[in-house]
Symmetry: C2
Subunit: 323 residues, 2 copies
């Protein structure tokens, strides 16, 4: 069993069982991969992929388990390289983060600015996507850290750390009737067409929950995955925007934000990484820049605890910032 072979079978799965694509992705020849896969299968004495004649059709049950373990193994191999780099080039490396548009656009810039100044030789890659995509990117090892607001993914080997709480504001044009309202109510919101986040994004369930509790069926006329699009359509007069308060900036002087924090449950932004990944020194710093209470000792304590319930307790007496 060679690591290459494991890399091949994992990448074949990543490429939806297309060996030719896999060869391209790995910059090697397609027959080479076929052969190595066969050799591995011979060594293990079973088929990892089910073939239909000469086409790969699916993964066998045994193959699924093997690939899952192979993934973990390859992460360990990456960790070894990271450890080596940590010693040979302490402040050189890559930091890959998956997050939602809102985080990338409104929360990360100041952190990134500080980080880049401190670590000019660490190249930063921000992957944007839906919570599902973020989760996949993290689990497949495409990224090192995930910053999300969605529900915790239980039973995964993830360490999840609480960063801060945030809530929503209603966004309207300055001439909108709601613009002068002092105490926004859920009923008032229910009277207007709404523009908000697409389902599955940044705490939409908290929004649903509040309307349901009030017995109101909200008239959602448009959804988008990011606040900029929401603002654009609010400007077009399509409806009242409901979005993360932090997405309303001083540049939006034509729009009025009416705090709606009392109407909806707060969402929590978390930073997550796989239990098995080796964190570079600069990654600890990035985490602390993002959330000052997540100091390196705290993060390491959480790593040792492993269990997310225990981690939750660890931060019970930390007062999270509200944004």
């Amino acid at each position: 069993m060679k690591m290459q072979q494991l890399r091949y079978i994992v990448e074949i799965v990543n490429q939806n069982l297309n060996v030719t694509e896999t060869a391209n992705a790995l910059y090697t020849s397609q027959p080479g991969i076929s052969k190595q896969v066969r050799l591995l299968e011979d060594e293990l004495g079973l088929e990892i992929f089910e073939r239909n004649g000469k086409h790969i059709k699916s993964i066998t049950p045994a193959g699924k388990k093997i690939i899952a373990i192979a993934r973990e193994l390859l992460v360990k191999a990456e960790s070894i390289k990271s450890v080596a780099n940590e010693y040979t080039r302490p402040d050189h490396g890559v930091l890959r983060i998956a997050t939602t548009n809102t985080q990338a656009r409104y929360m990360l810039p100041s952190v990134v600015e500080r980080f880049s100044k401190q670590y000019p030789d660490v190249s930063l890659h921000i992957h944007q996507g839906s919570p599902t995509q973020i989760h996949d990117a993290l689990m497949s090892g495409e990224v090192d850290l995930a910053i999300t607001t969605e529900a915790p993914y239980l039973f995964d080997d993830l360490i999840q750390l609480p960063c801060y709480l945030w809530n929503r504001s209603a966004i309207v044009k300055a001439d909108h009737p709601l613009a002068k309202v002092k105490n926004l109510t859920i009923e008032a919101l229910g009277q207007y067409p709404l523009v908000t986040y697409t389902f599955g994004f940044t705490g939409v369930s908290d929004l649903d929950y509040a309307f349901n509790a009030a017995g109101i069926l909200p008239n959602i006329v448009f959804t988008a995955t990011d606040a900029d699009v929401i603002k654009t359509y609010v400007r077009l007069g399509l409806g009242v925007g409901i979005m993360a308060s932090m997405a309303h900036t001083e540049l939006d002087h034509d729009l009025v934000a009416i705090d709606a924090g009392h109407l909806f449950r707060s969402s929590m932004t978390q930073i997550a990484f796989k239990q098995s990944t080796f964190l570079r020194n600069y990654m600890y710093d990035f985490i602390e820049y993002f959330s000052p209470h997540l100091t390196r000792p705290m993060v390491e304590k959480a790593e040792r605890l492993r269990d997310n319930n225990a981690i939750k307790k660890l931060f019970d007496n930390v007062k999270l910032e509200v944004k």
Copy 2:
């Protein structure tokens, strides 16, 4: 980075940094290992081993971390092979257990008998040793399961499952004054020279605790790592034996066992394995044979929980057998 290279560096550490021994252990040539180690070090750009001229002197800090990860990686590789064997030869394989003499001698035989009948093609290897050796054997991957009575090893990637409780008896020859005592007291024990387990074995701390609590300094004249040796010296008249009650069998008709369960804290026997190991089907069965409440679903639930505190809770309402 090749798996072979990782195997080499891990084995060099296992062999106390002696490369020649490592070569023998791995059935290969010594220069081959030296070369591969150098190649790995070149690739990683750092030294894993510190050399004094041409002798390997110690492990570098980076090397320590790398070797720790390499160990985990190799366990994953073994897991892949196990998965394959599980599918191709379900009832064939190896089961390696590390345990103390008392377990091996008095508790395992019936389990092994049943297991061997059920799985004639699984070869069983029982490693005996001190709790420390058992722990090491488990962590280094020498064995699959550990059966111990010692304190839980926290912060290790171990799953620990409670098996049963046991306590001690005082063992004397039939003509000994204590032989006719109905209610044994700690003070009575304190009047005689004692023969018991060596420190670090099978719950010696519970024994110390009871004597300390009673303000008695026990006169321990002889200690041994196993009950058979203790019995032998009791027969020689060296003193009163204190050992696991289950170690007194019908063959010991010349010795009288006086239950001392009310004098000492019960010890708990646990079965442990590394979180990262893949358990073969027959391993689940072995565990259940050993402790009927540890059914496969229960063990799998514990594996998912990972956290030993959570696991403890899982078994809170299970009434453990007392042996």
